[in-house]
Amino acid sequence: MVDVSALPTRLRAASRGVGASGAGLVLVVVLVFLAGRSLVPGYSQPSSIRAMAVLAAFLGIAAIGQVLVVLNGHIDLSVPALIGAGNVIAARLAGDGVNPVVIVLVVLATGFAIGLVSGVVIARWNVPSLVVTLAVASVVGGGVLVWTKAQLLGEAPSWLPGFTSSAASTGPLPVPPVVVLWIGLVLVGAYLLRATPAGRKLYLAGVNPRAARLMLVGDRTVTAVVFALSGMFAALTGMLLTGFTGGGLYTVGEAYLFSSIAAVVVGGNSLLGGRGGIVRAALGAIALTELTTLLVGFSLDSSAQQAVLGALIVVVVVTYGREQALRDQI
């Protein structure tokens, strides 16, 4: 424990040397891992690393959608509801023996469509995204409850447990397929943001919607699309989680309400829009999963874990996520 309390100072000293905040973030990911390794027995064993990677992948896939929304200067509170919906739909359809490809398509399309509704409402009426996504979450969550009569139904698609189990491997790689999928999505997503007109438009509209409009960037279209994508990624996360829930469990998404936002902000993305990126959200998801696992290793009960995690998030972000002083902005 002494070592943990000394950690922030060490981190700060180290990150000052590194300078750029992106490097600071990578450093945090590494140092938290090293701390876990020295403090918790078995932390760095391959099996536990793989378990962490799977957890980070679930969180990370949901966080891809959230970070797109955040880059646009908004926030998506409907992520847990859509995770729940994706989970229940996938389990239901699998229980009815539907073709796996159809399941995937239906889940993704549903998430996309619901997200699109939020996005269009937000862009068209200029309404706070926080309230709209909260309301949509309520509608979707309620809808799923009505549909399933609040029962655990269906089953996981047969191929999914093998896809998301931490013991599984991807061909020759000793890494579970879900982790490969996540890393692939992050890399492709980050590349697309860099190298496509749509990606650049997302940033332009996030920084200054008014100027963006005068530069022929359809800022409203951008908003509608990012919410649709966020819905899609949330639904995808929900489907992947059926491997854990076994059947359709609506409440499976609840844990992701704050953790998807936490992954984004721990990654150093600004909620004011336009600053950050998908890779940062992924690193945030890793850091958060590492911290959580570290706390589990101390065999604290879950509420104490949560309290310590809250404090640690703030301490960690202090090392690289400080805002510019006002006098430097004039």
């Binding site: 509170l77 409402v121 009426w125 200029n126 309404v127 706070p128 926080l130 309230v131 709209v132 909260l134 309301a135 949509v136 979450a137 309520s138 509608v139 979707v140 969550g141 309620g142 809808g143 409850l145 009505v146 009569k149 609040a150 704050f258 936002i261 936490a262 902000v265 721990v266 600004s270 909620l271 004011l272 009960d301 509420s303 104490a304 874990q305 949560q306 309290a307 310590v308 995690l309 809250g310 404090a311 998030i313 703030v314 972000v317 202090v318 996520g321 400080r322 805002e323 510019q324 002083a325 006002l326 006098r327 902005q329 004039i330």
Partner: protein
């Protein structure tokens, strides 16, 4: 002189503009109130009023508690309001009561101070360490929520005597005593406004750099805003204790998002700088009236979420589209 003619016209426009969006919220709220009265004719009857007020007051105060941090801008938002309600409730029941601090004049100020202290910690980290408010208050959210469960893993069915007193009423039910807490919150706000503090918070939220170059101590103002929000959350925690008349760690956190929704429904800009408490109070009333209408209509518990979400969506769209139209018209008059 044409100039002399121009003054009163422009002034009239200037005055009307900020008020109009509020009028929309008033209309929406009034409609919901009428609907409630139609469905439940005795909605405001003296035998039901104290219970109704008890349900409303924690939400109203939580909404008020969210106002200063949002108003102070820079992505300002206090996610920890809900768990703060919870921790105040738990401290009152699980710490102050066993320590014998049950007298109202001791434990009520202590609870408000606790709220202000937590708010001040948030404010210090936001203003002086310069972290994004959402990171800070998310951290505080997790800490408070976890701490509450550590302090009280199971609900405890007793409450201090002042809670029972506050759940009573005067004038045969016409004047519920729980409203005293709401009045206290409003007085706190009015005091802050009279001292010019609220305008400073608005200035900082509107453009922090302009405030800084005008000689405003921006950090101190932001710090104060979070502390004020914390104190209001302390009052809300007391109201929650009155409502549940026990200690329960799981109730508080639910208020965070409802409170922010109330602020947004009330027409305050979530980006800061604009709005007061009248809008958020009406927003809280809107949310509350939707809820009570649904329970009065005996909507099946499975459907209640769907309807609640739909009504919230409709209300916020109506507010925003009409508000925007009013704003445009005012701007057009101003420009022409």
């Amino acid at each position: 002189m044409t100039a002399a003619v121009a003054v009163p016209r422009r002034r009239a426009v200037g005055l009307r503009m900020p008020r109009s969006p509020l009028a929309v919220v008033v209309v929406v709220t009034a409609c919901l109130l009428v609907a409630n009265l139609v469905v439940t004719p005795g909605f405001l009857a003296p035998d039901r009023l104290p219970g109704t007020a008890e349900l409303f007051v924690p939400l109203a105060l939580a909404a008020m508690a969210s106002v200063p941090s949002i108003l102070s801008g820079g992505g300002g938002l206090d996610l920890s309001v809900g768990p703060l309600l919870g921790i105040v409730n738990i401290v009152a029941v699980a710490i102050l009561m066993p320590a014998g601090l049950v007298a109202a004049e001791v434990s009520i100020p202590l609870c408000v101070l606790l709220g202000a202290a937590v708010g001040a910690i948030n404010g210090a980290v936001v203003a002086f360490v310069r972290l994004q408010p959402i990171v800070v208050t998310l951290g505080t959210y997790l800490v408070l929520d976890g701490l509450a469960l550590v302090l009280m893993p199971q609900p405890v069915g007793t409450a201090p005597p002042w809670a029972a007193w506050l759940s009573g009423s005067w004038l045969g039910g016409f004047a519920p005593r729980s409203l005293l807490l709401l009045v206290a919150g409003c007085l706190l706000w009015v005091l802050a406004r009279r001292l010019g503090f609220v305008t400073l918070v608005r200035a900082v939220g509107s453009d922090a750099r302009a405030a800084f170059t005008s000689g405003v101590r921006v950090g101190l103002v932001r710090f104060g805003a979070y502390a004020l929000g914390g104190a209001l959350a302390g009052l809300a925690g007391l109201a929650l204790t009155v409502l549940i008349n026990s200690g329960d760690a799981t109730v508080g956190p639910q208020y965070t998002l409802a409170a922010v929704a109330a602020v947004a429904l009330g027409g305050n800009a979530l980006s800061g700088g604009r709005g007061g408490i009248a809008g958020p109070l009406l927003g809280a009333l809107t949310l509350f009236l939707i809820q009570s209408l649904l329970s009065a209509l005996a909507v099946s518990s499975l459907w209640i979420q769907v309807v609640h979400g739909s009504v919230l969506l409709a209300a916020v769209c109506i507010n925003s589209s009409i508000g925007a139209r009013v704003g445009r018209r005012a701007a057009a008059i101003q420009g022409g």
